[in-house]
Symmetry: C3
Subunit: 634 residues, 3 copies
């Protein structure tokens, strides 16, 4: 497959006279895709029912005429102000009970029937008009579901829908009371209509209550999205994408992805490092202009799974952004490096956000490929360079990865509901293991929690998976490779109760978690083999112990292919354990220098230098922000 | 008196078929008491007026048949969901004005008349049914008053009741205006109906307003509790307890205690260390698995005073809990040490919380004596060991303590209202002095602020007592021992004004606090004798100065028996001053190694090693978490 | 002009029998002014329409009879409780949507028509009664506008008024949509009545929306104040002041000042250091008892500009205050030093706050010149000393300052709305440059942003001025001195958009800010000349570069008289650059030892030692808190 570049563009922001020149410049530097439309509802429909398509017809026509392919976004993330007159109660409500008002974006509650109907209406009109357009070659639904904490809404609409959802799920209040353990504090319900949302209780609500509310809320997102994809498919054959946002776990991306043709994500490496990464200050300082060396790769691998192989970057950071605590300028070369790393992980397309920096409104301090005065910004040239390099390169397909790592959104909800220790976060744990694998130079596949066939991988990891799925457990039973399960894996039922018999209940591994403890960061528990457990560890009763803590608790249970990890290893312990397990699994590893990363495709090995200075390895030197590719030795 | 052990049990959580075996195992390891019922309202009365007593009859019968004595709790901390249909406005309101909803516990406002009537109704029904039960040998009212910040409610019910309370107290708005100094910012009221609650004012409300609201709120708790004790006493001769929670000062525990036969408290040493202790990080790290060496003892001594000699631990931490920022596993032996320390301080009974870890709902991560699968958890064996040791031990009575320390809830309200410096907290100050006394190996009595006879003690301390009571001041006047008063003692009137003549107005001590200052933690004021004042100091005009600060302010005033302490001493200054004063009072002291503590009963000296490693003293070595007792030399 | 001292006094707080003695003591120590009345509405008008002037007549008479001159305050900062019955919706609403209730002060919304009428009514009555009083020699409007975050109100009244204000400003919704760039996220409005306040949006509201709301809110304060000054002037010839509060930028002090005769501010050096200063911990520790060495001077110079030369300190800290995180006692001598520093900067009067410490209500822990028992507090004697020193000193007029520094309230709003990096604060930036100038021993004038004549100064600085005014730009064009503009100056339009052509668009300086970046504090960018940029830097395209960063970006642009500063310099870089520029401007500098400051009047040089120990310079030693003055060499 030929990898391509693109850009996000807002014709409604600029004089029509400028469109043709913009389009020509896009084509000129080798861009293929241009995404439009996703925030333009007020210009498509200035008053209820009065549609204005002409400008969009012309914009798409102009872009198409320049040889560009259009990704058309549904504008449902930004309903116009008049919508509120029709549906005054469509707004979401925050956890404190405050209505989240008009004036920015994502101002709707997924559970509001009226707004759901409006969403279907505008998508129908859009798909009818552009479904057969020769220029519209892909679709995007809405924009960044969940961004700005918009999945969990505590509105009346959500309350009503949640009650219905619970009634469907449990059929009777008695069944719900049993499932949730409501006897605990006399919390029994006599009717579904007695059940409120779990916010604003005196102390924490029942974790089962929260867990079901999170499941319900995730379902509402998938349902909302499915309405759109169903409509679009009735009118268009072009593939449908959604642009997910980094490190967001409030809804099940796999569930939404099931209705998409392509998964895509919005990659802001510097913003994410500043805003969404737990790391030592020195690490954040070192990579402030490059981004964390693994954060992008993790999401690439995640969305490859969400998109069942097909995935894009829909928005690629081109320069400083406006929304993180600090917003530095990327090191020269990073806008190129990030794109190449995405391609190396299998991205079909990388679209920079945005074409021209808008000098007005909320994102005026967000860089583009062009400055507000239309002069090229640094990433303009880097994008052109990537386009040129792509043109000269053979098509490559992704390589097989030797290792699979489970990612499970429900586990993120489980541990957000019940962290048991201040530092226990699901994403943090999984990403911590991912980084350990990357430091060994490995290709990694992220897999769904219900993966039923593990045979493609020599090693499988499932850290912190609250409830292991039946298919996964069945697959484990016959798995010939090395598996590493835990900590905390399979320690909960679907309603966030502790199973009896006690966890982890793994097939063929005699192991019982008799006790768990969360630890402050300054109280690590040393391991006999080196390194330590931090944050979390478990006391297991087990016959077959591979390693213990210095104070004698089993740390790694199992000496065969299946292992249970009874704690949160620090870097030293993790590197040691993973190296050892890879050796047992027959996976060659190559510990990499700090900040250097590699990724293989089917025929090519890519090297990426995330360091702010050159790195020397294997007799070669890669400059700061440098990318190197070479044929894979057969 | 024979000391006993017990456990908290929730028959409604478990199949009835399991009850008999549970009871047999409890008896088998030597438990005497079993507490039941305090959260079971929805099972006692599933619908309004439809009572279901049969299961509770059988549960109590089963436990009694095994030889156990039952503590029966009133279930008023968890009104069922149907209660809200009857009393929609019964919920408390938080300081931000948000209603605190159903879905956990303690969801009621103490000032709501309707709920007060419901509380009386269920307690009457319970007392009528079980008041003469041969198995019910004690009662508990409600559960952990004030837990989850539930004393101060900003509801309409509270507002109405507060106005009535003020009208009773002041008789006329003019009197209130004068008492509060409402002229200050034109805050005069013309009618009690104009007075709102003190939350959500533009800047801070009048401190007198807050102080009266806190007094009122405390009174509401005592009134609520008294209704229950009055009812129970009409039907039962068994003693009545309430289970107080650690480091909670929002209501006057002495006032509630006046209506009880037994004070009890819920002792969670590790949770409290993680969640409710100001201490250097190294101290918290060192004692993370044992708890602070003095926190439990302080509460033991406090509740011995609240219970007028009779006190229990109603809930004893048996393993990791679920609610602190970090929840480590106790060091092996601590569940035994904690119990023995309670007995050494005079506890009649220590009940572990809870029998079996519940695998569901809010506290599923809270350990019990049994695991969820009914296998013994570590504390099961430690409890059995304590029971065995108790059986082999002679009964002992508490020893007299040479030192008394005043604890005054109103002072906690005063300094919470008007800290004047970020670090000034009443509990912290009193506990700081208590720790200093403990490090010297002393037995300590905590006493009420209105104690009228000080002759039992050779030394009396009253740090930070905002208003010294008339009886206490009268007692001081003739006191022959050594007294240490201050800092900040007697510096306020009952309505939180500054008295004129200026404080401290102590009988027989010429001393005037001319100025006070609060200090940032990094600005200690050295004392000439060593150590320093931190956080707070006062400039006194005094004739008789025992010690000064390095910059020449009097630090310790008085050279006779009565001393005024003009600042917050650090550990070094405190140890030095207390040693000196004990010498003057004829109290022998023995400075103890870090983490080692001792407590004498009438005939026995107990040693407790709170350290995570063995400690050697006086030629002996006590292991980590070790307890040692020996006959007191006569 | 003869400089004078005064004091704030609340006759309504004390028995009338005490007034005469108080007045006599004030006069006795040499005080000239006494401020009264500003919180006494409930005593002037106990019930709606029932006026009680007699007590105030007698109080003013008593003070006047002692030879004191009265500053009479309008009492509108504390409307009585009965006002709420007349205007239930007069209260402000906070950013979270909570009504800000009665019970302290400043409980009104500037936009409430009913309260505006009440304000006019009471001011009219007051002015009618006392406008010709022989003792009332000055007026104060209201009290500390903006204190307690009271400028921005999110009430219904504010919403209505804001819509009107927008309609006046933009004339049509289409014009507003264009100016704000509402097309950005479909935020277009069809009517002014659709526009809500910018709080509680899902993510941040349009910065133009915030900017206009801030402008509107500032206008409301000026309008409220102007009603009062207009009324007073109809009845009195005495000058009118308002007492501004330190480091408050929520409204345009120049706009309010335009309606005043005298600007005054309330100087609390220790409270401000503890509560409102970004500084290293060591700096805060060192100056905890003296205040920051430049914070007072900055405000003196600011209010000299706001008052067009006429300014006072209306409230001078006399001892510990009650409202900062920590409230230490001032070093002996500081109450004198602070007063002298104010006079050296041109203050006409310095009034201590307050005469006698009130033992009741909110400020009972705020020291006065007298203790609550009427004994002198330390500042009593220091005030008397200053009065004596003033009596023996020739009158002096302010000296000309060689340097001008622009202060622009709209820029504070701009960067509060759009900091782009967590540490970017306008006051902090301007004050940082001010401190650099002071360390060089300079007199500084703070000037309005629309200053049209720069010829009085040899050097002009305009850091962070979001939009340079037309008059200022015109003045720059012909300016012969040295100017230092930037960082971030002129980078925004009035509606907070980025201008195209890109900033800074300075006359005669070829420079384009192509990119900006905000930096975490631990990522400084070294400069070739020494020191570094921190927090913020810009990438400029410029021909004429005076200095670059170590990584090659222009740091200081321009080699002639006009310079653009492309980042936030640290102390080392700032001292170096300012010294160099002063040299070019022909301004002699004298780098001062830490904590020593100087200020010249027309004939006298003053030295102030802010250090807690003596400082030696030029062969002389000044004690801690010492003040020295000497004739200026001609």
């Amino acid at each position: 497959m030929k990898r391509t570049l693109g850009v996000c563009y807002y014709p409604e922001h600029w004089p029509e006279t400028q469109w043709a020149e913009d389009a020509a410049r896009m084509a000129d530097i080798g861009l293929t895709w241009v995404r439009v439309g996703e925030f333009a509802w007020s210009r498509m429909e200035p008053e209820p029912g009065r549609m204005e398509w002409d400008w969009l017809d012309r914009a798409i026509g102009t872009l198409g005429a320049a040889g560009l392919k259009v990704v058309l976004g549904t504008p449902t993330a930004t309903p116009p102000r008049w919508m509120l007159a029709r549906h005054p109660d469509m707004l979401a409500v925050d956890v404190h009970g405050r209505t989240r008002g008009f004036g920015s974006r994502r101002h709707y509650c997924f559970s509001h029937d009226g707004y759901n109907a409006e969403s279907a209406r505008i998508v129908t009109l859009l798909a009818e008009r552009y479904g057969r357009s020769p220029h519209v070659a892909a679709w995007q639904t809405d924009n960044e579901y969940a961004c700005h904490d918009t999945v969990l809404s505590y509105s009346d609409a959500a309350r009503r829908a949640f009650r219905d959802w619970l009634a469907q799920r449990y059929q009777s209040p008695e069944a719900l009371n049993r499932a949730w353990g409501n006897v605990f504090w006399s919390m029994d319900y006599a009717s579904f209509d007695e059940i409120d949302l779990p916010n604003l209780t005196v102390t924490e609500a029942n974790p089962a209550h929260w867990m079901d509310f999170r499941r319900f809320s995730s379902d509402q997102v998938a349902r909302f999205n499915r309405v759109q994809t169903d409509i679009i498919r009735r009118h268009s054959d072009a593939p449908i994408a959604h642009n997910y946002m980094g490190r967001i776990t409030d809804f099940d991306h796999f569930a939404v992805g099931a209705d998409l043709d392509i998964a895509s994500w919005d990659a802001y490496p510097l913003g994410f490092l500043s805003d969404r990464l737990e790391a030592p200050a020195e690490h954040k300082r070192r990579f402030a202009r490059q981004g964390d060396p693994d954060f992008q790769a993790f999401h690439h691998d995640l969305y490859r799974a969400v998109g069942r192989g097909r995935w894009w970057i829909m928005e690629q950071q081109p320069g400083p952004v406006n929304w993180a605590p600090h917003n530095p300028d990327p090191l020269p070369g990073m806008a190129r490096l990030w794109a190449w790393e995405a391609f190396a992980h299998g991205a079909e397309a990388v679209c920079y956000f945005r074409w021209r920096q808008a000098p007005f409104a909320q994102e005026q301090m967000h860089a583009g490929l062009l400055r507000p005065d239309s002069a090229p910004a640094p990433a303009f040239h880097e994008a052109a360079q990537v386009a040129g390099e792509l043109a000269g390169m053979d098509d490559v397909e992704p390589a097989a990865a030797p290792v699979a790592l489970v990612f499970d959104y429900a586990s993120a909800w489980a541990w957000a509901t019940q962290p048991q220790g201040r530092d226990f976060d699901y994403f943090r744990l999984v990403f911590h293991l991912y980084k350990g694998l990357r430091r060994l130079g490995l290709n990694i596949d992220i897999i769904r929690p219900d993966t039923a066939d593990l045979s493609p991988w020599r090693m499988v990891l499932a850290p912190g998976t609250a409830t292991l799925s039946k298919p996964f457990l069945a697959a484990l039973e016959t798995y010939k490779g090395v598996s590493l399960i835990g900590p905390r894996s399979n320690s909960k039922t679907e309603t966030l109760a502790i199973p009896v018999p006690l966890p982890p209940n793994l097939p063929g591994l005699a192991c019982t978690v008799a006790r768990v403890e969360s630890l402050p960061p300054d109280l690590p528990v040393p391991l006999t083999g080196g390194g330590a457990f931090t944050f979390w560890r478990e006391k297991c009763e087990a016959a077959d112990v591979a390693e213990t803590t210095a104070d004698g608790w089993p740390a790694l249970i199992g000496t065969g292919g299946m292992r249970y990890l009874a704690g949160w290893p620090d870097d030293a312990a993790l590197d040691r354990m993973l190296s050892d397990l890879c050796g047992r699994a027959g996976i060659p590893v190559e510990p990499l220098p700090e900040g250097l990363r590699r990724r293989d495709t089917a025929t090519t090995r890519f090297w990426f230098n995330y360091n702010p200075e050159p790195v020397t390895f294997a007799g070669r030197t890669l400059p700061a922000a440098g990318v190197l590719w070479e044929p894979l030795e057969p």
